[in-house]
């Protein structure tokens, strides 16, 4: 038998990879099809050309850009707040001695095991009391800082050598100054992990916006896309164009910072 000019593993792996990619390829392809191509039977599998009708429809819709902006605001605030509050809290738990720190840290860790369903009704009632239901505030406040962010920063800071900080401490620097100018510049892996995981979870969330938001001008993209599909289910090209726009920020982020994404998610797994 003649040897293949390439590894035989390609014969298994290439079809497998294509299988995983195919739905997303189809998402992209159908977003540039015309409704006529989709609506005839059987629908076309290969478009005759690139039509931007779907995108024109979505971007011409007054609400879609608004949803994008809403999602962007919620995610941006959540990421920033998790970096700031998570690193502050994580640093105190890693380096500072204060009464009750062990108990508090244990309590915060334990809250990671609480399923969302257990907190969603009271959180809804709290947000209602605060007058925040149907505002972006209701989406932002619960995602300002997660126990995971605090814990991840703490673990990272604990692993850093103390000597660098001690020099600054003896020079009379305050803790905040040390955190900002000595510790955080060394903490890029922790910062990127928290940013990636926070962005993924807030941008992709559907359940909480579904509960906390009523009026369509306050929808996030995920919620908007879902209702958009219900409303325009005969205009699949437009729905798929909207879907591409919804997925694009995460996909672009993933492709640009693939290493950070994979390291973050794999480490969240290994440390569990």
């Amino acid at each position: 038998m003649k040897r293949l000019p390439f590894s035989p593993w390609h014969l298994v792996l290439a079809p497998l990879a294509i299988l995983f990619a195919l739905p997303l390829v189809w998402l992209l392809v159908s977003s540039v099809m015309s409704n006529a191509e989709i609506n005839r039977f059987p629908p076309a599998l290969i478009p005759s050309g690139i039509k931007v009708d779907g995108y024109r429809f979505v971007l011409g819709n007054a609400l879609f850009p608004r949803w994008f902006l809403n999602s962007f605001i919620v995610s941006a605030v959540a990421v920033t707040a998790n970096l700031v509050l998570g690193s502050l809290g994580g640093y105190a738990f890693a380096r500072m001695r204060f009464a009750g720190s062990k108990v508090l840290l244990g309590l915060m860790l334990a809250t990671m095991a609480i399923p969302f369903q257990l907190t969603m009704i009271p959180t809804f009632l709290v947000m209602k009391q605060l007058g925040l239901i149907d505002t972006l505030g209701a989406l932002i406040i619960p995602s300002l800082v997660t126990p995971f962010s605090v814990f991840l920063f703490r673990q990272f800071f604990v692993s850093l050598p103390r000597e660098l900080e001690e020099a600054a401490w003896i020079d009379g620097c305050g803790r905040l100054r040390i955190l900002v100018s000595v510790v955080l510049p060394l903490a890029r892996p922790a910062l990127s992990t928290v940013a990636v995981l926070t962005f993924l979870s807030t941008w992709n969330d559907l359940t909480w916006p579904l509960i906390a938001i009523n009026h369509d001008t306050n929808y996030t993209l995920q919620l908007g896309l879902t209702t958009f599909q219900g409303q325009y289910h005969t205009q699949w090209a437009a729905v798929m164009a909207g879907n591409v726009i919804t997925v694009l920020p995460v996909l672009l982020g993933f492709l640009l910072a693939q290493k950070a994404f994979i390291r973050s998610l794999a480490s969240s797994g290994l440390k569990g």
């Binding site: 502050l88 105190a92 915060m108 095991a113 907190t119 809804f124 619960p142 919804t246 797994g269």
Partner: protein, 307 residues
Amino acid sequence: MASVVGTFTVDPRARRAAKRRTRGEGATAWAFVSPSVLIILGLSVVPVLWSLLLSFQANDLVSPSEWVGLANYKALTADPAFAAAVQHTLIYSALYVPLSVAGGLAIALMLDRRIRFIGLYRTLVFVPFVVSAAAQGVLFSFVLDPEFGAANSLLHKLGLPAQGFFSDPGQALYLLVGISLWSGTGFCVIVYLAGLQGVPAELVEAARIDGAGRAGVLRHVVLPTLVPVTIFLVLFQTINALQVFDLVFVTTKGGPLGSTTVIVYFIWEKAFKTFTAGYSAAAAYALAVALLVIGLTLQFYRRRVAR
């Protein structure tokens, strides 16, 4: 004695002053942690206790609650809709968890080699994982649309009969499993790939020298080192599977004929559609206790394996 930091010699007086500052910094520490503590504990401990109270009450999210004792829990055990939701969730989990973990292991083992395009293959297998459940749901609602979808179009080309897909109560739940496998297996793959980096090369070497073949190395060296990772993945995937909601909401809304009503869908419906929040809280507590038991069991098992 003067202590040495790097190459500097530190004045012992400065050292003592620094020590004194460390002792008196409780206020600073609290300033650092209090925002996190307030938000995290305020939005978890308080709601958890509140939910417990709610589960003993009748509440419509508007008027004041009424104490009903164990009535919600009693009603839950007798509710055929809840029993059905539990059953659907168990079927979904019993398929999704083993298939995603075993599939993830198989794919990771195949991807753990240095050949051309391996980076591309890894990316493509993993990329569905970052796509939101809402986007997955909308995409597959289209692909599987009985009239306009590509799936039936393909079946037609192959001369096969058209399928109802999400409109067929006998298929919908299994389609949800399939979609979740498409997006969730990639996570297991990258965790296993990371775990495979931790397989000690000298152990593999030693096994080879002792005459172990490829299958022998896999069975006696590689798989045993992956046991902790596997337990973690089973736990993680089980917790996710028992809490599946977004995908169901976007694709089937629990239908057709209630065939895809899972536990969390039931909880959401009872709270925010029929406004029986106390009943919903009781169902949420039942789920939470189940999750806790599973979590503790697997953690215990992991500890035992680690020893």
